[in-house]
Symmetry: C2
Subunit: 224 residues, 2 copies
Amino acid sequence: MKPAVVLLSGGLDSATCLAIARSQGFACYCLSFDYGQRHSVELKAAEQVAKVLGASEHRILSLALAQFGGSALTDTRIAIPISGVQPGIPITYVPARNTIMLSLALAWAEVLGSHDIFVGVNAVDYSGYPDCRPDYIAAFEKMANLATRAGVEGIKLAIHAPLIDLSKAEIIRKGIQLGVDYGLTVSCYQADAEGLACGACDSCRLRAEGFATPGVTDPTRYRA
Amino acid sequence: MKPAVVLLSGGLDSATCLAIARSQGFACYCLSFDYGQRHSVELKAAEQVAKVLGASEHRILSLALAQFGGSALTDTRIAIPISGVQPGIPITYVPARNTIMLSLALAWAEVLGSHDIFVGVNAVDYSGYPDCRPDYIAAFEKMANLATRAGVEGIKLAIHAPLIDLSKAEIIRKGIQLGVDYGLTVSCYQADAEGLACGACDSCRLRAEGFATPGVTDPTRYRA
């Protein structure tokens, strides 16, 4: 089996992304980050998802992103917006987060001798983050091929973003086909220590819209 | 003064790069990494260099790169080569290091409202690392402009690599003009706790060649 590094947050999208990578026959090395996110309970979810979906390995890397601040996800003094998804870049955007995480995935991939990195970014039902767009992913891939030994040796390194042009409902249908248990995943930006969701943040809203599909049951556990 | 983020290792190149950024009138926010490098004494050098060259702030970020291994700089079981600079990518190459460091600089820049990042990479008298080449820097800059708020808002973010096509001797002459005290810098890959250099690793050899210039004194302190 070819090795792949899979970024795994513990949310719905990255769990689906892992299931897709597994279905394509990759041995999956999952990477999560303890970056000071207020919903750090997602890391417990990531651990379970990695185990259930047959990851070869799962690592959680500490990253002092909160010291830079600038995001409601890492600075508890900034409130999480709960009035609905707005146009533009929301305050939950974490500066350069996907670039940092993909860079660390790139390091691990190079050491593993892997030329495949999976990331569950999505540019349809998403929060307006600049680092979720297809042209960003293409530019990262191009840069990564110049950054590393693989590029010098003429081996192509691929950044796979299999969810990038799917709607949330399509992502969920795909995951259900592949046997993903979404009850294990945590999407809420302010999930509590038990993983119970608020139901009002952008992430909860996008997730709920995805589950509002005929024949699909929403396993999300909301707090009272 | 416009803010800039400057990657500062504590070595000769990044010190010169900081001096250049200061001479261009930037308020410099210096970023160093405690990434498990065996020559972590360079961080003490970085602290002094930042202070002497008038940095506005200096941060040292912890990064668990050693857990990935794959480099003589982060894995003490792999010996540092001391027989002279060879063609190809040496074992001191740290997978994706510059990409990871530039990504974290990008995060800080975004929070600071800065659109300028300085990095002291050099592609002339260098160690054959893929992430020191001009096309890599250009690709990172392109990616960074798509990754962040600046790109969405049409503001150009620049990755400055002012040393990229200078020889080591030219870098040193430039630094001396700008008042850099190279006695504060540590380049050796296996510098001891006092910052004394081995004189035999690639980094020591490249540095020594740079100081072998008429009229320039080499302030490097070697161990006996």
